[in-house]
Amino acid sequence: MPDYTENKEIIARRIACFFTTGDVVNLGIGLPTLVGNYIPENVTIILQSENGLIGLGPAPAAGHEDKDLTNAGGKPVTILPGGCFFDSATSFGIIRGGHVDYTVLGVLEVDQEGNLANYKIPGKLIPGMGGAMDLVAGAKHVIAATTHFEKSGASKLRRRCTLPLTASHEVDYVVTDVGFFAVSGHSFALKEAFVPYTPEWIIKHTDADIELALDFRIWNSPEACR
């Protein structure tokens, strides 16, 4: 049986395989941002950033930062040719209006009913929801991106979230560093187990109800989307 090693890269690599050319995608701060590094060469997506642009480009070269051009994390970015800027009402019109194909968000807890908690731990840490609640309510597909376990070893996939919810029944897919799950309404459907993890190992180490998806497969292609 494999030992668990945290692996954020495989999460980003797998999520990058979801997209097809032309998809409008919003990547959250932190782990979801890594997804942008692994988009296949033959796929062109349009990145939306909720602070007011589409056509988000890479970080600028040192010395070329523009104080008026940042991402939703406040970091300097660039805009690709053909991109554009808009105000926050337009930005969230794009989001709530269903014009974003995929939103990828980080996780404190995610449960088998598609609920997501990622914006506060009462009495401890209260960063706020930012744009996350609008993104989960409005995007066509919601992908939760997370390591499978907390630092304490607890499973981040739950039967029921205990923290205040960011989203109620909105999550479609969960990608962790051991596998890819779809939310079927009452349990997680394991669609892929990432080598070296087996379905048995994943089920045993996850604090949620999991069934194998009809199209379940082992995924072992970190270099390519197949």
């Binding site: 994390g73 009402a89 709530r96 929801m129 930012g130 919810l165």
Partner: protein, 223 residues
Amino acid sequence: MIEKTVIRPAEAARLINSGSVVHIGGFLGCGAPDGIVAAICEAGIGDLTIVCNDTAIYDPKTGRTTGLAPLILKGLVRKVITSHIGTNAETQRLLCEGKIEVELVPQGTLAERVRAAGYGLGGILTPTGVGTEVEEGKRKFRLHGKTYLLELPLPGDVAIIKAKKGDKAGNLIYAKTARNFNPLMAGACSLVIAEVEELVDIGGLDPDQIHTPSIFVDYLVVV
């Protein structure tokens, strides 16, 4: 066109009363009216209720601040209505100690509540927050097979906003992602003070490129 009065940051601060509801533009400090914020700090105008996307950045390790963060650090803010406080350690600390009130509002809802205040709307219906703590105490409507929350307008006494360019009539053009909440706040408040980096004569801006029409703006500050 009528020219607007150009004032110094300190004069702008004097137009704001203690206890006011102040809308402040910017997204983590990008597009924030830094000059007017500094003047409010200097003048020590307190007991403020701030409406803002976030409480900007304060890093206690380096002491670095952006946007409106200095107002929080100086203890001038009684309450913030905002979507995010996670990058300002001082807002978090004051909240835990019960020294500041924080009303968290989803970012898109905050934008629409501010817009509604300036655009003559009695409120907006949004699906955002249904099934979460955000829905508590709000009226729900079932329309078109979907559940919506009624969110009310969020007007203010004063808006302090930031633009790249302005003309002396008060027309404004923002730069890149520094636009964010600024044009929405220009409509939502009784008094609007715009800080601009570059001020040109009337006729010096292309009317097709204006983001905020002059009639929303009362005073101009050049930094």
